[in-house]
């Protein structure tokens, strides 16, 4: 039984890098899919709106842990033996896309209708209206809540530990099994998460204040 030492702290810090990697993957994947979801939600075709709406409702009504298990075991059913990282990435992508899609849909709808009408009157196609007029403005509105959701993504990566991916939480478990000092170990783990999340939280709030100041 080892004593909790700087060696272990170093091990945890290394694992934190995997947390960051998974977070970035989840954000990238979830962002791409989420953008598609958001665009479908504001589409003029009811079928697209309905399908993505159902997807969002389903995902938001299911625990992330269960989605993770479904992804992990679901993939093995299809015959693939993928690393936990990939399964976790897929699960987090599916999960994040639903939430980001909703957030971004709200931001798109927050752009004044008059903008869309003006673009239409200038003869732009629907795709051009979205790309050149609505989305740039929606993006500005979206920055603050998106950064806020990144905090959720980082925290959600902790569940990847359950399917064996060695990120920060799993590393904490491993160190705990070696040192039997759960309090010290997990407080340190929490501290590392705090270092990742708190700056994002602060940034999100600051961005929101700046956005509201500019709006008025």
């Amino acid at each position: 039984m080892a004593h909790f030492s700087f060696f272990h702290v170093g091990f945890l810090a290394q694992a934190m890098l995997w947390t960051v990697l998974l977070s970035v993957l989840a954000f990238a994947g979830g962002g791409l899919l989420g953008l598609a979801v958001a665009l479908c939600r504001v589409s003029r075709r009811p079928a697209l709106r309905w399908v993505t709406g159902a997807y969002i409702q389903l995902v938001q009504g299911t625990p992330l842990l269960v989605i993770l298990f479904l992804a992990y075991f679901g993939i093995s059913i299809l015959g693939f033996q993928l690393a936990p990282l990939v399964a976790a990435g897929i699960a987090l992508t599916i999960y994040s896309a639903a939430f980001l899609g909703e957030i971004w849909r709200g931001c798109i709808e927050a752009v004044p209708r008059t903008q869309l009408e003006a673009a239409e009157c200038l003869g732009l196609s629907r795709a051009q209206q979205m790309a050149m007029v609505v989305l740039p403005q929606a993006a500005r509105i979206a920055v603050a809540p998106t950064v806020g959701f990144m905090v959720q993504i980082v925290k959600n990566t902790s569940l990847a530990s359950v399917i064996g991916f060695v990120e920060l939480s799993r590393a904490g478990n491993l160190v705990n099994n070696a040192t039997f000092q759960p309090f010290m170990v997990f407080i340190t783990v929490a501290f590392f998460y705090f270092c990742l999340c708190y700056p994002l939280s602060l940034a999100s709030r600051r961005l929101e204040r700046r956005l509201n100041a500019n709006r008025t």
Binding site: G61, P63, L64, V66, F73, L78, K155, S169, S201
Partner: protein, 227 residues
């Protein structure tokens, strides 16, 4: 695809899954009630004139909101046990969930309380009402009515997040599924079934909160508008 779906083993263990769901409901309901009380008290502390109290509550809220629930659960269950505070898994789960939802509730209630116009409070003061009466009748009740949708959403999220307590062997729904999965190896079917069960629970909870809201907030029921 060589896999053939077989739901029968899962449905054979239906009673265990149901028992797990029942524990999920109990844990969530208990944590919701206590967490709401804690959050309201902390919101008052957050708005207090006493600086150290404001800072303390602020630190609590920021710490909880910027660390994962899984780690919080480990700290409470394993951490306290190592310091000779032997807690049952269920007790540790409820405590962690209460602390967690308390932080989110604090922010929601703080916003609600701050949304009450100063003029309302002045009018109540000029009617000779005491500070406690003013806080309850003119500040707290309308604040809760105003933030009720946000509160309901947060409590539904709590119920879903309770799945994390399966990691400290609380025999709620996800843990029951893990058990059935380990026996039947019908992993996809089991988790598919509990996904549907969780979805049903979230719908149930939403309806429940809506009903409570209609009952308690007469104005909402009669007028149908937001406060």
């Amino acid at each position: 695809m060589s896999y053939s779906f077989d739901f029968m083993p899962v449905l054979a263990s239906w009673d265990r899954l149901l028992a797990g769901a029942w524990l999920t409901i109990q844990l969530s309901a208990l944590a919701t009630v206590i967490g709401f009380a804690l959050g309201t008290l902390c919101a008052i502390g957050r708005l207090s004139r006493i600086t150290w109290l404001r800072t303390l509550v602020g630190a609590y809220v920021e710490t909880i909101r910027n660390t994962p629930l899984l780690v919080q659960v480990f700290i409470v269950y394993f951490g306290l046990a190592s310091m000779d505070f032997k807690l049952s898994a269920e007790a540790a789960a409820v405590i962690t969930l209460v602390i967690n939802i308390g932080a989110y509730t604090t922010e929601i209630m703080r916003a609600g309380i701050q949304s009450i116009h100063r003029g309302q409070i002045e009018a109540a003061e000029c009617l000779a009402m005491s500070k406690a009466q003013i806080f309850f009748h003119v500040v707290l009740l309308p604040a809760v009515e105003r933030v009720y949708p946000a509160l309901s959403s947060q409590f539904v999220l709590l119920m879903l997040a309770s799945s994390i307590t399966s990691q400290i062997s609380v025999e709620e729904l996800t843990a029951s599924a893990n058990l059935v999965q380990s026996e039947t190896f019908r992993s996809f079917e089991v988790y598919g079934v509990i996904a549907v069960m969780y979805f049903a629970l979230s719908v149930l909870f939403r309806i429940g909160f809506w009903a409570v809201g209609q009952l308690v907030f007469a104005r909402r029921r009669k007028l149908g508008t937001a406060l």
